[in-house]
Amino acid sequence: MLPLTLLHLFLGLSASLLGAFASDHQEETVKGFFGRNGTSQSTHTNNWAVLVCTSRYWFNYRHMSNALSMYRTVKRLGIPDSNIILMLADDASCNARNKFPGSVYANPGRHLDLYGENVEVDYRGYEVTVENLIRVLTGRVEPSVPRSKRLLTDEHSNIFVYMAGHGGNEFLKFQDNEEISAFDIADAFEQMYQKKRYNEIFFMVDTCQANSLYSKLYSPNILATGSSQVGENSYSHSSDKDLGVAVIDAYTHYVLELMEGINKTSQSTMQDLFSSIDPNKINSHPGVRSDLFRRPLDKTLITDFFGGVSQIEVVDEEEGVEEEAGLAGGNGEDSVSSTATAQARSFVIPGRRASRSKRHTEPISSTSTTTEANEIWGWVGSSTRTWGAVALFGGLVGWVRMRS
């Protein structure tokens, strides 16, 4: 009796273990795919950005400039407009007091125009409210809200959330008449976690006492940074003599400066970003909260959050061999593959690409000749068939004539 029971137990255990390992195979394949992501180890497949400027009026020009500089950065690094929610509480570029209408400049001397011709503002003016921000983040929008105003993320989306405006200890002021608290933001992120609306969030705040705004977060996979500690102000960088207002905040200015030197293929890490900000220059101490973040900061690429870069592998259909690409590709709707392959030729090992293209052209030419041959054979066949049918018909007529 006992040996039989032991045998059954052994069989059951081995079967369950086998089953566990068998189901792990798919997981292994997926992990392997993301594991070929170089050093980044990120598991995201698409990127989104929510950029919020909460202050209005002309003298808060710099807050709009902050948000627009982040907009410029993420767009330049590959996130398309469809994946960016830009919320500007006021229109600085078309303000009546703007001496240079249609432009928002990032530095004194007006060397960099952030506004340009290709800016898509999703929430503007009085639409920038606490309620709208929380609705956008959690996805609980009215059915009538258009797609461009929705955050259509899934569980493999990396989201970059940037907020600029006037803030205080655990709050951020919206439009002079309401404020969002750190608890609200934490709860919103938790809702997003429960609804599987993000893979990882990078939360950046540039306000006074910014670090307090991320102090209440409790959901996993969030990396947060702020421009100043509790009790500190965040200062503006400098003002332009012709515009007459401060054009950008100090923290965002140095972030932007670093970003301008980065392109889609950059391997700079978040640690580089955080280390590059000098507290002496910005007169405040930026903080980083990484306890909720699984990956090490020196292995997390800046383009994981700021750029539309994700792991892509091109599979060769003919040979069945997977080629590592690690390419930069947008996750926008159109021409992803074409831009990906276009960039592939620039820096993937040329030898491999050349040999591959040769392999691609050969089968195409052979199929074209076979189709031609098929066509000729088809035409010959149809001619035979036609005459055969006519002969049959003629035979029938002749037979009938003979009968009568």
Binding site: V390, L392, V397
Partner: protein
Amino acid sequence: MSSSYSSPLLRLGVVLPALTVLKLSAHLAGVSDVLLHDHQLSSPLTSFSQLQEGLYLFRHGIDPYNGGTFRHSPLLLALFSSVLPSSKVFMATLLALCDAVAAWALVRTWRARQNVPSSARDGLVAAAYLLNPYNFLPSLALSTSPLESALLLLAVMFASQKKAAPSLLSLAFLSHLTPNAILFLPPLLLLLLTDPHSHLASPQKISFKRHKVLPLAVEFLLYVGVLTVASTLVAGNLNWVAQTWGTWYAFTLPDLTPNVGMWWYFFTEMFDHFRPFFLMVFSVHLLIYVAPLCIKFQHDPLYALFILTGILATFKAYPTLADMGLFLSMISIFPETFPYLRFPIVTSLLHLHSALLLPLFHHLWLTQGTGNANFYYASTLVFACSNGAAILDCLFAGLRIAVGKEVDGYEVVQE
């Protein structure tokens, strides 16, 4: 029965060639280009431009039955891509010859009916066919419907001459072009087994050798089968069945191009849910006329066939004017009925009326855009009314002959 015309101009040998040449010269004068796309003269199943498109596709190795536009029979595909050229001039010549052959067949039928080798009315009969605008306009429009008329008249001619095999072959070929033609088989068989002579005035119960019916029917089916095999050989697969015969009898009426019939309008506004039912009703409707006609006119199957021609022309799915032209021209071989027609003037005026209205409303709807489909549908209803009047009058006359002329003091009463 023969009229007293003795003018040399009306001899058959003059009329036939003269009118054929006239038709050809009309084509060469460019009339065809005007009429080519007319919806009254050619339907999607008989249109010349569709035939050319199918031939082009076939020549380039593409299956013409793969799309939804080519609905001609594969036999025509075979003939026109091998033996016959498919140019417009040739088509016009071919159709002029077809009309000549049809007129000649009608004359031969007339002669067989009268049991004379030739008569004075031959030219008149031929002219009644060739000068009928319902006949020569479709052949100028290069539609294949005159071909169908010719085939039917050939079948009738051979049957009147008791030549079973050619008659059945013509009908089989016609059935490939128009499946409706199978409905002509019962009267044709009766005609083959009796005689074409006029017995309208003295109806008797029919007597024919019943055991001969089955072999003839089997022979017909055999010819249809061989032609089906030939068609499948040309087309390469069986797609053509759904595209040609299926156009008539499928559960959807796929082509709703306006024509002079009454189906298209009805089915443009038909809900999908009811389509199969109404298609079945419309199709079976044609069936119900065959048996009563054959029974009532068992003493004269040629007359039954004649009436059936008119009924099919009125009620079939994709008619053209040529179908009605055949019926109206065939009246000329039944002059014994003329005194008994009750309202020939009304019928002819109605036909004139509809012949003017049809192109007018078509133009108003589709070219000018100031009318709508209801205008054209109304004119097709008027056309159907005139057809109905013609059929009813002929039917009445055919039956009334048996009663005889009116005698003073006596009245004809129906019990």
